[in-house]
């Protein structure tokens, strides 16, 4: 965007065709190499809100939609500020040439980072409209009162927004050195019409009628189909390659080979399957891929026996030699995202010079959490300038942290370039599993000692996990060793307990594993809190104290919002009685995610000897993530996290062996199904005075330990590794 002023840029993108446009700004939060973490700043002005001449309010949707519906929440904020109905707001997903870079959609940051600037933008627009109304009517602005869709005067005259804009451009800029206008969204005394109410996502009809909404659905002329071989791990190199017979496949168009890249293009999808089946590759690996190797690398006990772990996160009057009441090791499995949509991309190269008007050289349609990252990488991959690459972001059929990288896009781009025609690539399910950037396996040693009064005196928690944010290939080679000197914010998630202990140490080491790793829902939050909450529950059980009371007591007056969640979930679960008889149990767990999201969960389970299964019968959850902009949406995210909790505790295990990824499809990687789902009771703690924090990964930290603790209550069995199977318990 260098060289273009904001104003020119807005005009160039067609967003200032009359009406009033507001440009909102937010100070730079962070800059990093990859992925894109450039939040909108005063220079870029990355999102727009507009009242068009016909009075319709239009907004760019700044977030990539993958089911979290953050845009609906942001639209509610706009509607609240402008006294509109959220249904009347028209949302447009921008392409990478419509706006300057905006941050990757990840880490449940959407509402946190965007709610306030969105409110400021809308309120600024409202106040500027009020000022126009005042001029138009020749009365002071203070006599112009809010009304639905516009204003009314004290003597009852009404003015709609449409009456206040015309075909001339009006640019409203918010100067963030001046105080913000009154923000209705954050006014706790206001009786809110939009914020705080359940709103159905604006585009829901297309989702139940089979509308074309995902990447692979985008209609294209003269389309060819392609796919490329995915290695079991990205640093593998091709040893032997045999492509005999590939070109004889019916519908075959081209075999494309470029270093480690091998792909085919065909006329139809099944021809691609047939051609790909004929390619055989033997991979040269840098490390053997098997579970023993992973277990060896995360062996926390072996490493702690040698001395301090690599990173000390907390060290407060640590004592090594005390009488440990709890000294347990917990092992957490590798898991994959398994989003229901296998990723897809369409790439098209266009003629560049159209009589002085630049047509974009490369267009990519893809569902990605990071459109600007894809644009950057496609430019590096092809040698085209960034200005010649446009990414059209599409809705994602699930993200969960797994869709940030230039991968399926690379396949489509390279193949399209080779055949000089538009190519669509859709990964197979096996590609999805093979190329997974999984949540790493980890091992956790938790030691707890108590004093004479039974209160926590010593806490020593050490763990080893694969890398998360600093995983190999998430960063350039030259940066990795430097980056890894610092704390990996994915690896430290959840590591600090909410309990008050005078003597504490928390230490960890993060390692490379023989499989590719990355960002998975809640990062290390769920594994660490599983270990902590299991250990605390075990201590309570041994002392024969109610675990909820024990945990609250051990917070020693701290963490009031977490205490509140725990108390409420205890009350909520008590509304249902646990069936009498052997094999039934109820467990509790709580946790803090990202220092600002609080959650407590209870689980009722039954160990069924007849069917030889552990069934989760019911779960209750109380969550406090600040202001509830769209409570229905928060509830949906909790339901999703509880389904994942069942999966993590009882079902999911990413299998590797024989130097390859063994989990290849849903027949050998189980996720929660309808019959696995418990009934649910959910309570949202609304905090109108606290800005909203994300809810996308919160309840997953407390769900798995609640299930494990319920199994302990039912059977006396303490789960030390996940997933837990019926056989472990009996």
């Amino acid at each position: 965007m260098a060289g273009i002023s904001r104003r020119k840029f807005l005009i160039a993108t067609g967003w200032v065709a009359g009406g009033a446009t507001v440009l909102y700004t937010l100070r730079n939060k962070a800059i990093s190499v990859a992925p894109t973490v450039i939040f909108p700043d005063a220079e870029s002005g990355a999102a727009w809100l507009q009242i068009r001449p016909d009075g319709v309010c239009r907004m760019f949707f700044a977030r990539m939609d993958m089911g979290q519906n953050a845009n609906t929440g942001l639209a509610q904020i706009v509607a609240e500020e402008l006294n509109l109905n959220v249904q009347d707001i028209e949302g447009v997903t921008p392409s990478t040439s419509d706006v300057t870079p905006i941050a990757v959609t990840a880490g449940s940051m959407s509402l946190t980072a965007f709610s306030r600037p969105t409110a400021i933008a809308a309120a600024t627009l409202r106040e500027s409209m009020r000022a126009r109304a005042a001029i138009k009517l020749g009365i002071p602005g203070s006599d112009i009162l809010d009304d639905a869709g516009g204003f009314q005067t004290t003597d009852g005259r009404k003015l709609k927004y449409a009456d206040l804009v015309d075909q001339t451009n009006l640019m409203v800029e918010f100067d963030d050195s001046k105080p913000a206008p009154n923000l209705y969204t954050f006014d706790a005394t206001r009786d809110k019409k939009q914020v705080g109410h359940d709103v159905t996502p604006l585009d829901i009809r297309a989702l139940v009628t089979g509308g074309a909404v995902y990447t692979a659905d985008v209609p294209m002329q003269n389309l060819l189909f392609g796919r490329a071989i995915q290695p079991p791990v990205r640093n593998a190199r091709i040893g032997k390659l045999d492509t005999t017979g590939v070109s004889d496949t019916k519908g075959f168009v081209k075999l494309v080979q470029q270093d480690e890249f091998v792909g085919v293009v065909c006329k139809t999808p099944s021809a691609v399957d047939a051609a790909m089946a004929k390619i055989s590759v033997t991979w040269d690996l840098q490390q053997p891929i098997n579970q023993q190797e992973i277990d060896r690398l995360v062996d926390v006990d072996a490493e702690m026996a040698l001395g301090d772990l690599e990173h000390i996160l907390l060290d407060e009057a640590h004592r090594k030699d005390v009488d440990w009441a709890i000294d347990l090791r917990f092992d957490v499995q590798t898991q994959t995202h398994a989003a229901q949509e296998p990723r897809a991309a369409i790439a098209r190269f266009n003629d560049v010079d159209n009589e002085g008007e630049t047509d974009h050289a490369l267009e990519i349609w893809t569902g990605t959490q990071d459109p600007f990252g894809i644009k950057r990488f496609a430019s590096m991959d092809t040698g085209l300038s960034e200005n010649d690459v446009v990414v059209h972001p599409q809705r994602l059929g699930g993200g969960f942290g797994g869709r940030e990288h230039y991968e399926v896009e690379r396949d489509a781009v390279r193949l399209a370039r080779a055949v000089k025609q538009t190519v669509k690539v859709q990964w197979t399910r096996q590609d999805e599993f093979t190329a997974s950037r999984s949540r790493p396996a980890s091992a956790h040693r938790v030691r707890i000692a108590t004093d004479d009064a039974g209160n926590l005196s010593d806490w020593w928690y050490g763990y080893i996990t694969g890398h998360v944010v600093f995983a190999r290939e998430r960063l350039p080679d030259w940066l990795l060793p430097v980056a890894r000197l610092a704390e990996d914010m994915g690896v430290v998630k959840g590591a600090l307990s909410p309990y008050s202990v005078p003597h504490q140490r928390v230490e960890y080491k993060d390692v490379d594993l023989p499989i590719d790793l990355g960002v998975w829902r809640s990062l290390n939050g769920a594994p660490a809190i599983f270990a902590i909450e299991s250990a605390m529950d075990e201590l309570a059980q041994q002392k024969n104290i109610d675990p909820v009371e024990f945990k609250i007591a051990q917070m020693d007056g701290g963490q009031p919002r977490l205490q509140n969640c725990l108390q409420l979930v205890a009350a909520l679960s008590a509304k249902r009685s646990l069936p009498k008889g052997a094999g039934y149990g109820r467990g509790f767990a709580c946790g803090i995610y990202d220092k600002r999201c609080y959650v407590a969960v209870s689980a009722d389970i039954h160990i069924d000897h007849e069917t030889q299964k552990i069934n989760v019968l019911h779960m209750s959850c109380v969550q406090d993530v600040g202001m509830a902009v769209n409570p229905g949406q928060l509830r949906a995210q909790i339901e999703s996290n509880l389904a994942w909790s069942v999966g993590m505790a009882l079902l999911e295990s990413f299998e590797v062996g024989d130097n390859t990824i063994q989990s290849a499809n849903f027949d050998n990687y189980s996720i929660a199904r309808m019959a696995d789902m418990p009934s649910l009771d959910i309570e949202i703690v609304d905090q109108p005075n606290i800005p909203p924090a994300g809810a996308g990964e919160v309840a997953l930290v407390a769900g798995p330990p609640a299930i494990a603790n319920a199994i302990r209550a039912a059977s006396g069995f303490r789960a030390l590794s996940l997933p837990i199977s019926f056989k472990d318990v009996v």
């Binding site: 359940d198 139940v208 995902y214 296998p342 339901e639 309808m674």
Partner: protein
């Protein structure tokens, strides 16, 4: 080769006659509402009705479907746009998250209600267990099926 899809007769070009029913629907005939997810009959995303029975279209060759009556998610709403009670219930209960699995979920629910107009939880568990939803919308799917069942029973 001909298919009868949602009451409309459609031709399948020669190049596409070795394909699966799924790829023909999606990539040849412009009906992308039926989704691809596993390709091996393990997830239900690609579910359509062939001659009134639910079928994983990723596993059916288009040859097997020739001349048959096929119902896809696109054919569920009435011609005037009125949604089927299942679709309406899906909206009322705000079921979809990412939405990717939902065409298949609705088509499977339809198959259930056609044989079992008043399903209980066990019926739903059994009928819906082959339809995966990574977003975990199961609780709402269950409620929506029950809601739609009432509407459909009253209409009959």
């Amino acid at each position: 080769m001909k298919l009868n899809i949602n009451g409309v007769e459609r031709q399948v070009a020669t190049d596409w006659q070795d394909e699966t029913l799924l790829t023909v629907l999606r990539d040849h005939l412009g009906l992308p509402g039926t989704r691809f997810s596993c390709g091996i009959g393990q997830c239900g995303a690609c579910l359509v009705h062939v001659e009134g029975s639910p079928v994983s279209s990723c596993l059916m060759s288009v040859k097997q479907a020739a001349d048959k009556n096929i119902l896809t998610i696109e054919g569920l709403a009435a011609d005037d746009g009125t949604l089927h009670p299942l679709q309406q219930a899906w909206i009322d209960e705000n079921v979809p998250q990412c939405g990717y699995c939902q065409s298949g979920q609705i088509m499977q629910a339809l198959a259930l209600l056609e044989t079992t107009p008043d399903p209980d939880d066990a019926d739903i568990d059994q009928a819906m267990n082959g339809n995966l939803c990574r977003c975990g919308t199961y609780d709402r799917i269950r409620k929506s099926i029950k809601k739609a069942a009432i509407v459909m029973r009253e209409a009959n």
